[in-house]
């Protein structure tokens, strides 16, 4: 248990110092949100309609941009060797690293969502629906993304390959996340159905992610 908390605390510390603090996550999210109207055009009604999609894309990006070095950094400086050798099961260690990543990169985004909702012309209810789906769904992004991060070590590859491997996995999360938020905002579909699927996806990824990542790390040693 100490081992796990030590790992989580270390990773959060590094993320905050190197990434520049939790505020940076918020700033990043803000920038992405500001970016979208430029790309899409200044149509406020359209923006409102796309609001949840934009927020979800921002979250996806924030996780993609930072996840790819989740294990590679540890591999390059030799930490991964010691983590693999340690008495903590590798699955647990992987889960701890992913959790730390989510705490450092995911949670600030969720906290910032209400502010960004204003910019995208979403009302209070819609914003809280999006925030709720993000809270439930972003762990799934992190925990599936982790598999790609582990493969990056195994394959000695990074960057886009990783994104290509991970993106298909995160498509379902994105779909149900957006459709749950949209359901909450405009109806007519029920919020409950996509939301519970989203929860299920998160739970599945919480289990599958660490095992897949640990397996890939174990077989990719050299």
């Amino acid at each position: 248990m100490t081992a796990i908390t030590a790992l989580i605390r270390r990773d959060i510390k590094i993320a905050l110092r190197v990434g520049g603090g939790a505020l940076i996550g918020v700033l990043f999210f803000l920038t992405v949100t500001v970016l979208m109207p430029f790309a899409i055009g200044p149509d406020l009604a359209l923006l409102t309609r796309l609001g949840p999609a934009i927020l979800w894309l921002g979250a996806l990006l924030a996780s993609l941009l930072t996840l790819d070095r989740l294990f590679t950094a540890d591999h390059e400086d030799g930490s991964l060797d010691l983590i693999v050798m340690g008495q903590t099961p590798l699955e647990l260690a992987c889960a701890a690293k992913a959790l730390a990543h989510w705490l450092a990169a995911g949670v600030p985004l969720i906290v910032a969502t209400p502010m960004l909702g204003l910019l995208l012309n979403l009302d209070g209810e819609a914003t809280s629906a999006v925030a709720l789906t993000l809270l439930v769904g972003t762990p799934a992004l992190t925990f599936t993304g982790m598999i790609g991060a582990a493969l990056a070590v195994t394959l000695h590859r990074g960057g886009l390959l990783l994104a290509v491997l991970v993106l298909p996995l995160s498509i379902p999360v994105l779909i149900f996340g957006v459709s749950a938020s949209q359901a909450a905002i405009t109806g007519p579909l029920a919020f409950g159905t996509p939301f519970s699927i989203l929860c299920a996806l998160s739970l599945v990824s919480l289990v599958v992610g660490p095992f897949a990542a640990a397996a890939s790390l174990r077989h990719g040693l050299d």
């Binding site: 100490t2 081992a3 908390t5 030590a6 790992l7 605390r9 270390r10 510390k13 590094i14 110092r17 190197v18 390059e76 400086d77 030799g78 930490s79 060797d81 010691l82 983590i83 693999v84 050798m85 340690g86 008495q87 903590t88 040693l221 050299d222």
Partner: protein, 200 residues
Amino acid sequence: MRLSGRQISCVRGGRAVFSGLDFETASGEVLAVVGPNGSGKTSLLRLVAGLLVPAGGSIGLEGGETELTLPEQSHYLGHRDALKPALSVAENLSFWRDFLGGETGDVGPCLTAVGLGHATYLPAAYLSAGQRRRLSIARLLVVRRPVWLLDEPTSALDAAGQELCVGVMRDHLASGGIIVAATHAPLGIEARELRMGGGK
């Protein structure tokens, strides 16, 4: 305790590095792995540490704790020193102590022992090559493990550092530990030699 390997062979990147290697060592002994560059010293250490999978043969530890695997009872000191530049020296060391299961407590005395007392709160990014090595050695001290796998432990160390390293190894042997060390320079300690062939 005795650590032994039987007919180990090692394949890396599709090429055979060595095969049919036997070795054996016991509590209180140093096994010095020597041989030319590329002969497979590092590979052997990583096999023992469980970081590589042998293409054949077996490696075992007799007399250790039965619930733990050999890697879980070993310290591995490689070329890459597992330090995070963004963390301070003390933070780095106490993380490894906590993660590897050492007793909680102040890491200060241990840092002083390896001559890094003055650098406790410095970011690890600021350390010189030898200082990094010293910090790696401190890691061996904060958590007790019976088997030490050391890859060129004295490289980058100055004369005082090499003495320090030898002292630490002696203490470990005296407490019944096993050391397997790959090295090019004499270790400064009596050791059984394992000579690797080939390589270049």
